[in-house]
């Protein structure tokens, strides 16, 4: 017997009534159509990554045997520099941005200092200003600072531009925590730093995971900014690298190219395996309510 309490209200209602088979079937058919369309590209990637170029072109939709596993080492040889640099940028982005945002979120949420409201307004207001215009001035700034073609052009701008939204999220979350937790630690004589590391961080862990996943996704997917600022071959990110590859003679073996695409997905697969629950929980909890 299913536990009625875990079902959505409407489902509970329906359990008490006669089952409408046609409607159920309709829903499932719809979902399957949507899912097939959404997952088709993934399927194509999977089967194409183990084909020869000719097989990709001739038998596009069906898997072919035997699997050409040699595509993977070939693709890896080409994309591994992009892979490692993007990984490096993603780690820096995530760790540093999260640290900065959590510190600020905690400070704005539960601590008092002159200028607190004013400075928070500064961050909060920026959320509503479109960033379209930032591209060229940011590029000029990066050029003047001499950080083009280094990791900092990605990391510093990521940190800076992520603060408005995430500090707001962190602050909101922190404000919802009972202040007694913090008071008691302070009464015990713990320093602010101690409070931060032993209390705040574990408390904010769900939001931190959500933020981390989002930042990794962002770092992995970012295209225009790295295209424009990381022009040197060895510093490119995976997206830019794959883009150039798809246009050049080097990428003319479609089987190898597809396996390269598939390899580029690996880190995200890992991230999602660990973070799926947190990610979906974060979204469905409707945690962000403006």
């Amino acid at each position: 017997m299913e536990n009625l309490k875990t079902e959505s209200p409407i489902a509970q209602k329906m359990h008490r009534r006669k089952k409408w088979i046609p409607q159920d079937l309709g829903k499932h058919i719809y979902m399957w159509i949507v899912l097939i369309l959404m997952l088709m590209p993934l399927y194509i990637l999977l089967i194409s990554s183990v084909k020869t170029s000719a097989q990709v072109l001739n038998d596009f939709f069906v898997p072919t045997f035997p699997f050409v596993f040699s595509n993977f080492p070939k693709a890896w040889e080409i994309i591994s520099p992009y892979f490692t640099t993007t990984f490096y940028y993603a780690v820096l982005n995530t760790v540093l941005t999260t640290l900065v945002a959590v510190l600020a979120g905690y400070a704005f949420g539960k601590l008092r200092f002159p200028g607190r409201k004013l400075l928070f307004m500064l961050l909060f207001a920026k959320m509503f200003l479109p960033t379209v215009m930032n591209l060229v001035p940011s590029f000029m700034l990066a050029s003047k600072l001499g950080i083009l073609n280094t990791a900092w052009v990605i990391v510093l701008f990521c940190i800076g531009q992520s603060q408005p939204y995430w500090v707001f999220v962190m602050k909101t979350f922190v404000e919802q925590q009972p202040k007694e937790l913090f008071e008691s630690m302070r009464l015990d004589g713990a320093s602010e730093f101690r409070i931060f590391t032993t209390l705040v961080t574990p408390l904010l862990l769900p939001m931190i995971s959500l933020m981390a996943i989002n930042l990794v996704l962002f770092s992995w997917n970012d295209f225009v900014w790295p295209l424009v600022t990381l022009t040197e071959d060895s510093k490119r990110t995976i997206t830019v690298g794959l883009y150039w590859l798809s246009k050049s003679q080097v990428g003319r073996d479609y089987g190898v190219l597809m396996s390269g695409y598939l390899l580029s997905a690996l880190p995200l697969v890992v991230v999602f395996m660990f973070g799926m629950k947190a990610f979906m929980k974060g979204l469905t909890a409707g945690a962000i309510k403006i």
């Binding site: 489902a11 993934l42 607190r116 960033t131």
Partner: protein, 340 residues
């Protein structure tokens, strides 16, 4: 907090106004210095306000402020100011007033690009609905477990960088070897150049969004729906009501809040969109795929060896900024007022 006019009335007269001003001054001070409103007899503990713990707190917040100001606010102001200057290749600028804007608005390609942008704008709005339909269908699943499985499957495509999907679609619509082109030839008899025909390219770009369901938003909407208590369902009349009518009276009012937020985002993004168009750009579809954002990009980062026209790029960026901001503010006002 009492309203200003009420304070003045209460205080009564000139003396009252002085008192009122004092109150405003106090409120201002509280805001700036983060002090609390004091009850009579209480004194502000200035030691706390300017003490060590305040300093530490300020230092906690400092990295966020500093990075945000340098890498987000400053480029924005730089963009506003330089739009009125001639910017040469070394970044040096000379003030020239409105000349950049003159160049922008007398450029025929700008108007073509606005037309293209409106095309994508309208369709982006229309294509928000498949996401909602999917949400409703998933929400009405009987079993929570099944719904969870579908949710996970829906999120699966996120593991692949979205650029890869675009590259795949470009391959699939390729004139020479694309399966879609082959398929279209079998069905329609003619070999269409989906990527190189200015009349087709916009539809091709739209088509690649199939099935036009944004997993992120589905999860957000479902979150909103799942949080509703059972009593709400009881209150609504369920018997004998068709599924579509049920949608309008039940689900729609509940997701409308989230939907409006997503809508504001889509509006703002559609005005400035250009990264997708950049991927599909080639010499034949130059006119058909140009958007104001892409024009701004090309003026600063030209594809050919022509010198960049930074002034134009700054001016167009400022125009887009103003339009996008106005649209966001208007739509937020609309959202607020429509709620009541």
């Amino acid at each position: 907090m009492k309203k200003l006019s009420v304070l003045i009335k209460e205080a009564g007269g000139k003396k009252g106004i002085l008192a009122a001003l004092k109150k405003i001054g106090l409120r201002f001070r509280n805001y700036i210095l983060d002090t609390d409103e004091m009850l009579p007899g209480q004194k502000i503990r200035w030691k706390r306000v300017f003490g060590l713990s305040s300093l530490i707190a300020f230092l906690f917040a400092l990295p966020a402020i500093v990075t945000n100001v340098i890498f987000d606010w400053i480029p924005m102001f730089d963009g506003i100011i330089k739009a009125f200057c001639y910017v040469d290749r070394s970044g040096e600028s000379y003030f020239i007033g409105l000349e950049n804007f003159k160049n922008v608005f007398t450029d025929p390609i700008l108007y073509k690009s606005i037309g293209n942008m409106l095309f994508f704008f309208v369709f982006n709005l229309i294509l928000m609905f498949p996401t909602i339909i999917c949400t409703v269908v998933m929400f009405r699943m009987k079993s929570a477990k099944v719904q969870y499985v579908y949710r996970v499957l829906l999120c699966l495509p996120m593991v692949v960088p979205s650029l890869v999907f675009t590259l795949l679609w470009i391959f699939v619509f390729g004139y020479n070897f694309g399966v879609m082109t082959d398929l279209a030839e079998k069905i329609f008899g003619e070999r269409y150049n989906f990527l190189g025909d200015p009349d087709l390219i916009k539809w091709t770009i739209l088509f690649t969004g199939i099935p036009w369901v944004t997993s992120n938003n589905v999860l957000i909407y479902i979150g909103g729906l799942n949080g509703i208590s059972e009593s709400v369902w009881d209150a609504a009349k369920l018997d004998g009501v068709g599924p579509i009518k049920k949608f309008f009276s039940l689900e729609l009012p509940l997701i409308v809040g989230q939907f409006k937020l997503v809508l504001i985002g889509v509006l703002g993004a559609s005005i400035t969109t250009y990264s997708t168009q950049l991927m599909y750009y080639n010499a034949a579809v130059h006119d058909a795929v140009m958007t104001p954002g892409l024009l701004m990009y090309f003026k600063a980062f030209p594809l050919t060896t022509v010198p960049a026209d930074y002034g134009y790029s700054y001016a167009l960026g400022l125009v887009l900024f103003v339009v996008s901001l106005t649209l966001s503010l208007l739509s937020m006002k609309f959202v607020k007022s429509a709620d009541y």
